[in-house]
Structures are given as C-alpha cells and as structure tokens.
Symmetry: C2
Subunit: 270 residues, 2 copies
C-alpha cells in the first residue's frame, strides 16, 4: 500500500501510534540523558558506549511496540537489522539523533520517527524529550507541541539568501569540498547558526530559520525531517535538487525560491 | 559592604530576590521568544530591533524591582546607564544573552543575573526561560532546577584535554589570532560543540562539559557564569589566567588541572 490508500480512520490510528512511539522513546532516552550512569560509563574509553545503550533501549522499545501493533510494516533503524515487511509501509527510526549533543547535555538532540511508502516519508515526528517538545508533520497534521502549547508549523516566506538564517552541523562534518560549498551559502546569508543537530529541522518547520545544509547524513537521519518540513510548506533535497539519497548531502529550505538560490551555491560540489 | 558582611538572614533574602528577578525576566522574554511580533518586526531591516525591545522590557522590569527592594545597590546592565549605588554591591544584568540564538528560536540563549562586590561576582543565575531551567550558584548554593527536578551543580574531574568536551561560539567570534588560539585547544580535545551561547556555562557547572573558550565578551556576559561555575567547583579567567576583563577573552574550566592545560594553548594570543 501507499500513503494514498490510507483512509480517515487509519490516519487517526497512525497518528496516535506515532505519538505512542515518540512517548516510548522519550521515556527510554531520558533514563540516560544527563544521568550519572551516562557520565560514569562515558569514562570507560574502551567500555561499552552508553549512548548506544540508550539508543538500543529506545529502538528495542519502538520495535516491540511496532511488532505488536504494525507487524505487517517494515522497519529501518540505526541499531538493528532492517525488517522487510509486507504492507509497502516502512517505519524509519533514529532514537537519538545528535549523539554528541546527547553526550554533552545540550537540549538539541532528538528522537526521529517516520513512516514511509515507496515514494518516501509522508509522516514524521521530531521529538526533544528533555524540553518536552514535539514536531509532527504529515497525514494532514503540521504542529508543534511544547512549553508554549500547540502551534501550527509553517515555514517562512523569506525570498533572498541575504535575509535568511542558516543552520548547520558544519564545521564538524563534511569533506573539504563540501565545506567549501557550505561556506558559499553561509557567506551570503544574514545569520549562520551551529550545533542544533536535528532540532534545526524543527526550527525550520516552525518558521524560525530558513535553511539547513548538512552532509554525511544517513537515511534514518533525514526521513522524519522530510515529512515534517514538507507538511509545513518547506522542501528537502540533496545538493543537486534530487530526493536525498546515498551521498548524504541535504538541503532543507523554507520555500522553493530560497531553495533554488541555495542549490545554485551548493551544486558545484558533487 | 562585601560578600563577607552578608549574614545568614540576608543570604536567604538575596537568594529569594535573585530568584524573583529571574522569574520576572523569564516572563518578559517569553512574551517575545518565537512570537509572531518578533518574526514580523524582524523583517523591518531598518525598523526597531525586536530583540532589543525584549531586552529592554526585561531589563526595565529588573531595574524597577531592584529600585524597590535594593535601592542602595549599583546596577550594570546591557541596555541602560549604570547605577552607581552606595552599598558596595552591584547587580550585573544581561536579560538576553545569545541574541542570535533568541532570534533563531533555539533554546540556548539565557537570562544572566549576578551580584558582585569589589572582588567580583559571588552570586549568579543562568536561566533558560523556554526550557524552564535555572542554574544558581553562590552564597552556599550550587543547583540546577529544571525538567528533571533539582540537582546539585558539580563540575567534572576530567584531567586531560584529550578526554575533554569543549564548547564555544567560535567560529562566529574572535579575531584571526583568537581563532587560531581556540583551534589549538579544539585540536586536542575529544569533542568540540558549538552554538550554545551562555547555556554552555550551565552545562559546565552541571558536569556535562569541561571547557568553554570565548572571545569578545562583555562584563555583563560573564558575571553570572563566574559565580555559578565557581560555586560548582570550576574556574573562570581570561586567556592569561587573570580575572576576566577588558580584552573579552574567557576560559572556563571544570577544574584547575584542565584549566592550566587549556591556558598553555591559549596564552600566546594576547
């Protein structure tokens, strides 16, 4: 099946389910975030990786829930083998996007959960457990629930790079060519911000920033952001304007006008 | 008077007062953060600056409260003229530290409030209104209150740069020489994180990161972090190991061993 086969009743049930999954991941990840056992284990240079432990615990909880309520669907997750599924639908899971952020105690990592068909992701959640903030997009929804209540997600109408705010994980990521391409965009925008990991996609969907440029991403890093940003009126492609894919390059924009301008600066780096 | 003249009863009353001030600033800044009027006004390139409006509203509220309850003390704030005072004590206020963070909707700006005597700050609050998180240090307190309840602030015991996590606003700040000095430290640590503004000092005090290196800071940017970090067992100096001052350079560390190692890398940039 595809997104077009999903009726009203099933839509409600999928929205409820993705919310339950995000609740589960929230509770599993907060057992580790900023906790003494994370700090202690982190000192064992060659011991087990506590973030991976938290990742695994959360992903196992999500897989168990899906096995019970959506046994027919596939699963792609960071920590365990893919489940093929039979329905044509696939859950894409990254329980902790932003490992370094998680380890450093910053509140800008997130839980990413998406539902995709053969065309790609069409429902997504970006959840920040510590703040208690959830961005949901797809199946008719585009909303943020958090400390200020619930607000509609809607991307900005910024029409020129010179008015735009850009967020990126550069300079921490990318090849030298990719950094140069990122720099060409950064040089033209009004403001570049760093260190936000997946939280930046939520800010873009909510209309607070205009562009995200990243490299080195995996499929499970970008599925939920695609669904949330598209539901809010924005768009996400690779640096050549194609569906984000194997090369790990991502450009997310508030609107097509800005997207074209950023693409033109990025396009020479393949 | 100095910090040594403050008795037990006055200590309680000053701790209550700084908490009231932080509550006031929280409510004033949240009237603007991520709100439509901030977004709209921000498009008027030559109009008034909405962040400055939010800054001013918050600082006025704090000054009014101080005029009522601590008329004898001095005030140093970002937005209005200094008040000299007669008591020997001075309140140092930055209602929104991290203007670019505030404008971009990220949750890593903060309210900074400190109380200083002639020796420097001895009581400080770093407050993150959106998350509802407050770091308090001084007068016998060192605690964080937030989404996970109240926890004691205590810096880490990391003994080597190679095990340390560093946070900084570089590459956005500093001269070329300062960037080179920052890079010498960054090259040796395990992990460098960006984009945290004053929130990084809270993370250092809470034991989640080990070092903060900054340049271009003002006195009102660093007073509260000094008090909070010192109360948690850490230390803050300029890049020559002196009290932070006119040159705007700051090194904050979890402990003296790490501080000495970072200073050695920074010291050649004056």
């Amino acid at each position: 099946m595809t997104r077009d086969d999903i009726g009203k009743e099933q839509r409600e049930s999928l929205l409820a389910l993705i919310s339950e999954l995000a609740d589960l991941a929230r509770s599993e990840t907060l057992k580790w975030f900023r906790q003494p056992q994370l700090r202690a284990d982190n000192k064992l240079a060659d011991g087990f990786d506590p973030v991976t432990q938290a990742d695994r615990a959360a992903e196992m909880a999500l897989r168990a829930h899906l096995a019970r309520f959506r046994p027919q669907d596939g699963i792609l997750g960071e920590e365990f083998a893919a489940v093929m599924g039979e329905s044509g639908l696939k859950w894409v899971i990254d329980p902790i996007d932003g490992t370094r952020s998680f380890l450093s105690g910053t509140p800008c990592w997130g839980v990413l959960i998406a539902l995709a068909d053969a065309q790609g992701p069409f429902l997504g959640v970006i959840d920040q457990p510590y703040i208690g903030e959830r961005f949901v997009g797809g199946l008719g929804q585009a909303k943020l629930t958090g400390p200020q209540g619930t607000v509609a997600l809607r991307t900005r109408e910024t029409q020129a790079l010179s008015d735009a705010t850009l967020s990126s994980t550069f300079p921490e990521i990318g090849t030298a060519d990719e950094r140069a391409a990122f720099q060409r965009v950064s040089d033209e925008v009004r403001l570049t911000r760093y260190g936000m990991d997946c939280y930046a996609y939520g800010l873009l969907a909510a209309g607070h920033i205009d562009l995200v440029v990243e490299a080195g991403l995996n499929a499970y890093d970008i599925a939920a952001p695609i669904a949330v940003i598209e539901a809010a009126g924005g768009l996400v492609t690779d640096w050549q304007g194609r569906k984000p894919g194997e090369n790990g390059q991502v450009l997310a924009s508030a609107n097509p006008v800005l997207h074209a301008q950023a693409l033109a600066r990025l396009a020479s780096a393949i």
